[in-house]
Point group: C2
Chain length 184, copies 2
């Protein structure tokens, strides 16, 4: 399944870290790209591109002036995450059948067209909380509660430890020798 994220209504001052966290979470859970509307934020884009360059994979982030044209041409199913929606767990089986899935996470005010356009408006708990956590939980379920094991072209890789921190440079990334054995 190809998963794309659409983050609505980004505001540079208020949302920079939240949107960055959405992007990092999406990437870590296997999404391939994130589009966003609102304010064009080169700093946030660079921060996500930098992470992708260091840690590997093909995640990319793209700005949209408005969601309408993109939504009209998107081929696939569309799920909008909102605390007002139906419980997401009841729809997981249907979501998992999509070949291409767009996951929309809102900003402060989501236009009514989004609720109409979405194939599903789904809630991750019917309480106000966080689009980052909601996105994380839904992607976690969509990936079968597994994390992608490998990110191609990674310059850095974490070697899991019971205590402390350990990183290595994977062999494929260049002439620097790998330190230790990957266990990811």
């Amino acid at each position: 399944m190809a998963i794309t994220i659409l983050r609505l209504g980004h505001r540079i001052f208020r949302d920079q870290r939240i949107t960055t966290h959405c992007g990092l979470t999406a990437r870590a859970l296997g999404a391939k790209e994130m589009y966003y509307t609102g304010e064009h934020d080169l700093g946030m884009e660079q921060s996500l591109e930098k992470a992708a360059a260091a840690w590997g994979g093909h995640f990319r982030v793209r700005y949209l002036e408005a969601p309408g044209p993109f939504l009209r041409t998107f081929h696939g199913k569309v799920v909008h995450l909102t605390a007002y929606g139906l419980p997401f767990q009841g729809k997981l089986a249907q979501l998992r059948r999509a070949r291409s899935l767009l996951v929309i996470v809102g900003g402060e005010k989501v236009p009514p067209e989004i609720y109409q356009r979405a194939d599903w408006n789904l809630a991750v708990g019917s309480q106000p909380h966080s689009e980052v956590a909601a996105l994380g939980i839904v992607l976690y379920e969509l990936t079968g509660r597994r994390f992608p094991a490998r990110f191609t072209r990674a310059k850095l890789r974490i070697v899991p430890q019971a205590r402390g921190k350990r990183m290595e440079q994977p062999r494929s990334s260049g002439p620097a020798p790998a330190r230790g054995k990957a266990r990811l």
Copy 2:
């Protein structure tokens, strides 16, 4: 299981929304309190208290000058979420056996004492992403992938909808008549 959150190294300017999202996520997934260190942030505290007052439950947030004294007297198990740790899924069964569990989420720099003090240093995917998403996914698993159905003393409650937004005031919250039937 009683779940407490400890958020380390909060910075008002940079982390206000991230820490608020951690608190909201913790509350929505049944945690009872969040402690935090770093900068004392009354705005963030008020924002979380306001949410708890409106949406119910007993979630509270408390500032700590330093984590040491709190950690020395905490009775229960301690899990520290870090991308450098062991995969969390291998330890879930042990975590679920705790009667009282402290979940630590870090800030920019986590002191080595935290890695030492924690019963487990666990990663939610061995990639850098978001403490909000990591916390959400771990709490989601700890609650058996269910969300608390009821929050006591709620003034507002969402009535899940396929499209659009609907809220009601639960009967128990006061003299205002309930609108519609709760389906939470």
